[in-house]
């Protein structure tokens, strides 16, 4: 496991998400309204749609294609058509930078 540098915290608006690609994998990186950071797999577990184009509301991310919802802090699938939980990864602020821990 290693901490991977992602971007400046300011690169993500509060209550928003961006895409982050690393080592052949794709992730979604979030900031909530308090500025806390979170990371999940980038692709929806329903179909291969990237969540970075979706809508962040409170602690949920809505898939832009079918409106399925996950809790991006826990990965829990909340609303059909998503049924399978989303993988989450540790994320932290290191100074002004966001880092995630991936294997």
């Amino acid at each position: 496991m290693a901490w991977i540098d992602v971007c400046d915290a300011e690169d993500i608006e509060l209550e928003d998400v961006i895409r982050f690609d690393h080592a052949g994998r794709t992730f979604a990186i979030y900031r909530d309204l308090e500025g806390q950071v979170f990371a999940t797999d980038g692709l929806c577990t329903h179909e291969q749609v990237h969540l970075a184009d979706g809508l962040v509301m409170d602690d949920t991310i809505e898939c832009p294609k079918h409106n399925g919802r996950f809790n991006y802090q826990t990965g829990e699938a909340l609303r059909a058509p998503v049924c399978v939980n989303l993988a989450t990864y540790p994320a932290r602020l290191n100074g002004a930078r966001i880092e995630i821990e991936v294997s």
């Binding site: 832009p64 294609k65 058509p81």
Partner: protein, 365 residues
């Protein structure tokens, strides 16, 4: 050149036949679709959820249902009941479709339970199994008008005009939908339903079908005991006598346009319509916009349209204009099933990506 002009044979629209395998092999299933460019900040503003407008619209909808249905029932037996039932029929048998649709997407209200409650009520009114159709509609958005993949293709080729005309009276669609509910209530799913409903959800589909059928049985029992069709004029019947507005708007969503393409500008239609129809239909006349960005709520679709219209074909100017456009194409498709309207893009639009739409031509040549 139209997109699929080489087709001559009737295609197999089932989800388990050879067309399904062809769509997968051709890369048309779960594919990457064209989207107009929109900065993230603007997109976020357009996607923003609110209860305000849907609360107001839903209170008004139920108030009108109670008012017109109540007046119709009170005046039952006299001609004075007719206008009330004409209005009640549309409010029940047509408006249910747009409420089912928007609440199914979960975009109408910000509050989840409000979407779910209205979704279930509207699903009952439109005679759709709320579980089966949630999954069916997800597939419709994944594979819009991809033959063998999309379970919601309303106009199959070659079009049968008499059958399309019958749809305005709920036939045979309501019969099919009722039969599907009965089959589901019996604990069985069709092959197509088995294809798009995950196993974990199939039990829920059976449960809700039983709930719907129990209510319909109750309405029939009430009608028999009262020896009157009034209960069926209020429950179930509007799906036949009041569905014309839903069908009128539904057919022009995709009718006459392309199959097997990966650009909603080629297979969906935006139409400018009157404000009453827009309220009844919750702005789904902005259909290209809805398919391109399904997370934008109905009340923000006019703003989305204004923002991206330079990248889209010019909308039809009215419902009548859309029908002129569509009927001409459908009549041609009776003899030339591969024909499809190819909407003209304005000079400001990004061109169609031909490499995404040559699949049929390549297959037939």
């Amino acid at each position: 050149m139209n997109i699929a002009a080489n087709h001559t044979a009737k295609r197999d629209y089932s989800l388990t036949g050879p067309e399904s395998a062809h769509a997968v092999a051709a890369g048309l299933a779960s594919a990457d679709w064209y989207h107009s460019d929109l900065p993230r900040k603007e997109m976020k503003a357009l996607m923003r959820r609110s209860d305000q407008q849907a609360d107001r619209d839903t209170v008004l909808w139920f108030a009108l249902l109670i008012l017109t249905g109540g007046a119709g029932a009170f005046l039952w037996g006299s001609w004075a009941a007719v206008p009330f039932f004409l209005a009640y029929g549309v409010l029940y048998g047509s408006v249910c479709d747009s409420r089912w649709h928007e609440c199914g997407h979960g975009t109408a209200f910000k509050t989840t339970w409000k979407n779910d409650v209205v979704y279930h009520i509207a699903s009952f009114m439109v005679m759709r199994n709320p579980i089966a159709w949630r999954w069916s509609h997800a597939r419709h958005h994944t594979d819009t008008i991809i033959v063998g993949r999309d379970p919601e293709i309303a106009v199959m080729r070659p079009p049968e005009m008499a059958l399309l005309a019958l749809k305005f009276f709920g036939l045979p669609s309501a019969v099919y939908d009722l039969r599907a509910l009965l089959r589901n209530a019996w604990g069985r799913l069709s092959d197509d339903e088995g294809d798009f409903i995950p196993e974990a959800e199939q039990g829920k589909a059976v449960f809700w079908a039983r709930v719907h059928m129990a209510i319909y049985c109750g309405a029939v029992l009430w009608a028999v005991l009262a020896w009157s069709i009034l209960p069926l004029m209020l429950i179930g019947g509007p799906r036949l006598y009041g569905c014309w507005h839903m069908v009128m708007m539904g057919l022009i969503q995709h009718g006459g346009l392309a199959e097997d393409v990966l650009d909603h500008r080629l297979n969906s239609r935006t139409v400018y319509i009157n404000p009453i129809s827009r309220w009844l239909y919750w702005n789904m006349n902005y259909h290209v916009e809805h398919h391109m960005f399904p997370m934008v709520p109905y009340h923000a679709l006019p703003a989305l349209h204004a923002r991206i219209k330079d990248d889209l074909p010019a909308p039809n100017r009215s419902i009548a204009d859309a029908y002129r456009d569509m009927i001409g194409a459908l009549l041609r498709q009776r003899k030339e099933p591969g024909y499809a309207i190819r909407p003209v893009l304005p000079s400001t639009a990004r061109p169609y990506r031909e490499e995404l739409h040559d699949v049929d031509i390549a297959r037939e040549s």
